[in-house]
């Protein structure tokens, strides 16, 4: 029996407030994620609205049509579509009557948004449905008052309220009355079997604008008098600016100013091309501090793994005694390089810093933190900042960091001009906040056909696995268990990259389980199922994954992916992983083309609870899986004396159409609260692929990218 383990509690009180609109209709202020202050009272007059506590609005017009103003950062994960679906479901309006708009421009109302960690749907599930249900309840109350009947005798469906006598009123007919009612204390949520919108495909609400090329992204933003800036940054990590000469840059037509700030030099011009050309004409001398190369990182991480300076993140039983009593011991070390994010839309931001206000516009996953950062660096009051978000041409974690917004603000402040900073692709790849290089050393003790101990060491650049990751599977499944971490502090900037840590940890562990299975001579899927049998769900509160749910997910993937029944010349690999509150299992099918692996198909089973928007959900899973395959196969990013060796797509390989497998996605059906999908599809993909390659070639993929294990000229496996 699978039970829901953790539910979100939230305070309904104060997360919603209503107001009549001057032009008719009702406006509901909603806080997507945080309960707002208890003291907030519904204002009588819209002019007195102080909706700053809120970060979303729902407008129901006199014609019954609903507009949901969504302020949430849209980085391609589909929340601008799926989150409003939750409101519309409980409000009970036809989805066709709902318009979703990005929060309006030049407003101070939308300054509290959250993105990242695949959490939007999980956190929004209760409050957003409550919002819709409360609004519906108020509309019913208004209609009941009109009819002089009790509200409980009325029902509402598809935007129409019906009473026992069969009389009907549209939402629009009573919306002005409803606006005057107090917000009710209770609203009953629907039984999932009655869902009409949740669980049905809703096409991305911006799709028409996207396919017709309308302005949506930060790079598309313009403002009167706006100038463009291209920035020369230290070419290597560990360098500072000694001196520069701008005389040639200033001769470039369209260049209007050159401005030094910190260790950077900005060329300001009337258009992007002139700014970029001007930057290339700058000459600069740099002071070297510590310049690190990939060989140095390699040595540092090896020294950590071979040393004894670790922080223990989880320890169960006694691994040392289990190792000493083991029949056999397996130990492997897995290595991954740095990775850049490579959002298709290069980093950019607009800033207009004046004596009165600071206006910021652009693609950013952390608007509140970025506003704070800029207020700090400019020594201004945060209240003087208006920050607007645009749709983002990808995020993958890179747009959590507001360095590019700070650059725009500093340049605008110095030049006294409205400025848009535009990174070239080379700037974007060379001034990154990379996924750090990591090595894992994993050791397992085997005795009497069982895994009796598991010891994982992480050596990473700058920072380590965080939160509950040390308690992910196989924590809880093996009695003697230890996870410990160490790090090396580098001057290369690192940060979150889609499914931080687990994007590589899953590869290492899922590859290692296959080694254990081989050693024990049991099927790799059965090994995982047997280990999960050792877990009692709910016994350890640090363990978030559910063994019962993971087993169901594994069974579904094995069944749909024909595990163990591959056609001739097709080789299979398996992996299963829990991350970001979602359980995923994958079967990868490959063939060998002249000895080179071709990924044919990936069968994915996912337990993310209720699937809110199937088309969007499948898109996320397919994208995550192919992203995982692509980076495991090709992603490599090395440094030479502080300089990245690759700075554009000619030298940095991303997966393309012809290397892409078919992805088949299946969802475990249940009525559990939904969890996120932006990240969880990715982590198992690399491990499943590695295991398939081993099945085909006998070679273990201990280092990423896998392509390095193949001689691409002759397409043979390298020894």
């Amino acid at each position: 029996m699978i039970e829901e383990r953790k539910k979100f509690t939230f305070s309904r009180r104060g997360f919603i407030r209503t107001s009549a609109l001057a032009g008719g209709g009702i406006l509901l202020g909603v806080n997507f994620l945080n309960a707002c202050k208890e003291s907030a009272q519904p204002p009588v007059n819209i002019a007195n609205l102080n909706f700053k506590e809120f970060n979303a609005f729902i407008k129901i017009a006199e014609n019954g049509y609903v507009t949901i103003f969504s302020p949430n950062p849209e980085i391609g994960q589909g929340v601008k579509t799926s989150m409003p679906m939750l409101i519309a479901e409980e409000l009970d309006v036809p989805w066709e009557h709902v318009t979703v708009e990005q929060a309006g421009l030049d407003t101070e109302n939308f300054t509290r948004q959250v993105a990242g960690g695949s959490q939007s749907i999980r956190h929004g599930w209760e409050p957003l449905r409550q919002t819709g249900a409360i609004a519906k309840q108020m509309l019913i109350q208004a209609a009941a008052a009109r009819w002089e009947v009790e509200p409980y005798t009325c029902t509402a469906s598809n935007g129409v309220i019906t009473n026992q006598a069969g009389k009907q009123l549209g939402y629009g007919d009573v919306v002005n009355d409803a606006a005057l009612l107090p917000v009710p204390e209770n609203a009953v949520l629907k039984d999932p079997k009655d869902f009409k919108i949740i669980g049905k495909d809703a096409i991305n609400v911006d799709v028409h604008k996207i396919v017709t090329g309308q302005p949506l992204y930060g790079l598309d933003y313009t403002a009167p008098g706006m100038k463009y800036a291209s920035v020369l940054r230290p070419p290597a990590f560990g360098q500072t600016l000694k001196s520069f000469d701008a005389s040639e840059a200033k001769k470039v037509g369209g260049v209007i100013d050159v401005l030094k700030f910190g260790d950077k030099v900005a060329v300001i011009a009337n258009n992007t091309w002139a700014a970029m050309k001007g930057k290339h004409k700058l000459t600069a001398q740099w002071n070297d501090t510590t310049l690190e190369s990939t060989e140095d990182h390699d040595a540092k991480l090896n020294a950590i793994l071979n040393g004894s300076k670790f922080e223990v993140r989880r320890e169960d039983g006694n691994v040392n005694s289990a190792f000493s009593e083991a029949d056999s011991v397996i130990e492997r070390t897995y290595e991954s390089p740095f990775l850049p994010h490579n959002c298709m839309e290069p980093m950019n931001f607009y800033a207009n810093v004046t004596a009165e206000r600071i206006h910021l516009v652009g693609p950013i996953q952390t608007p509140a933190g970025t506003a704070k950062r800029i207020a700090h660096v400019l020594e201004r009051d945060e209240k003087e900042i208006d920050l607007e978000m645009t749709r983002m041409g990808g995020g993958f974690g890179r747009r959590l960091y507001g360095d590019f917004a700070e650059e725009a603000a500093l340049i605008s402040n110095g030049a006294k001009l409205p400025i848009k900073v535009v990174f070239s692709r080379e700037d974007d790849m060379a001034a990154g906040t990379y996924r750090p290089a990591i090595k894992y050393r994993i050791k397992a003790a085997l005795k009497d056909g069982k895994v009796t101990a598991y010891h994982l060491k992480e050596a990473a650049i700058n920072s380590n696995m965080y939160g509950l990751i040390p308690h992910f599977f196989p924590a809880g499944a093996i009695k003697n268990y230890k996870v410990e971490t160490g790090n090396y502090q580098s001057n290369i900037t690192t940060g979150a990259w889609r499914a931080p840590y687990t994007n590589f940890l899953a590869f290492a562990e899922q590859s290692f389980f296959d080694e254990i299975a081989k050693e024990l001579a049991i099927d790799p899927v059965k090994l995982r199922m047997d280990l999960l049998d050792n877990v009692n769900d709910g016994e350890d509160e640090r363990i978030e994954y559910s063994a019962a749910r993971m087993k169901e997910t594994i069974k579904l993937a094995a069944e749909k992916g024909n595990w163990g029944k591959a056609a001739e010349n097709v080789y299979q690999g398996f992996a299963a992983y829990y991350s970001h509150n979602t359980h995923v299992a994958e079967v990868v099918d490959i063939t060998l083309q002249n000895g080179f692996p071709k990924v044919e198909k990936v069968t994915v089973a996912v337990d993310c609870g209720i699937v809110v928007n199937p088309t969007g959900a499948i898109n996320q899973v397919e994208g995550g899986v192919i992203d995982g395959i692509g980076h495991a196969m090709y992603g490599n990013f090395a440094f030479d004396n502080g300089k990245p060796k690759a700075t554009n797509f000619d030298a940095y390989r991303l997966i393309r159409m012809n290397e892409t497998p078919k992805v088949e996605t299946y969802f475990v059906e249940n009525n559990l609260s939904p969890t996120g999908l932006g990240e969880p599809g990715l982590p198992p993909a690399g491990g499943a692929l590695a295991n398939a390659i081993t099945a085909a070639t006998g070679k273990r993929m201990l280092t990423q990218p896998f392509i390095e294990h193949f001689n691409t000229d002759t397409r043979e496996v390298r020894g």
């Binding site: 911006d206 309308q214 258009n271 959002c343 749709r391 993958f396 994208g623």
Partner: protein, 153 residues
């Protein structure tokens, strides 16, 4: 600075710009046609794909001043009046975009390809679309949408 005339989406446009300015930046910064995207600047990613006399081309590599007299079509000009191009329709039908940034370039590549090869095989589609990077990896749906557009085109 040079002055010249470009024919973009059926309209004559007067341009005054540096002679070496790529078409991409003329479209985006001078003509405010921002549907054509900047991705890499070296012709590797395909985000800036436009049609020159019906042929898919990377606008980041083309000097705009050399394109006088040619028919330039951007994503904004792909639909005829209010009727979307079959490729655009197929993109909507398959709910292709995730972040959506590369999709204008993908659509322009697909439209030009289907004009030359109206009934392609799956392999031909994959080969034709291989030059356009989608960082969100919506490749499965791009492939399906091109096939649908071929069927409906």
């Amino acid at each position: 600075m040079v002055s010249y005339t470009l024919k973009v989406n059926g309209k004559e446009r007067q341009i005054s710009a540096d002679e070496d300015t790529p078409l991409l930046w003329i479209l985006r910064d001078e003509l405010n046609l921002v549907g054509t995207k900047f991705g890499c600047g070296i012709g590797q990613c395909g985000a800036c794909t436009v049609h020159i006399n019906g042929q898919a081309n990377r606008s980041c590599l083309l000097k705009a001043a050399a394109l006088e007299g040619m028919e330039i079509t951007t994503i904004e000009g792909l639909a005829t009046d209010d009727t979307l191009h079959p490729v655009q329709e197929a993109w909507k039908e398959h709910d292709v975009p995730q972040c959506g940034y590369c999709q204008a370039g993908q659509i322009m590549t697909a439209a030009s390809f289907l004009a030359e090869n109206p009934a392609p095989s799956g392999d031909e589609i994959r080969q034709a679309m291989h030059g356009n990077i989608c960082r969100c990896a919506a490749y499965n749906r791009i492939e399906k949408a091109v096939a649908t557009a071929a069927k409906n085109g």
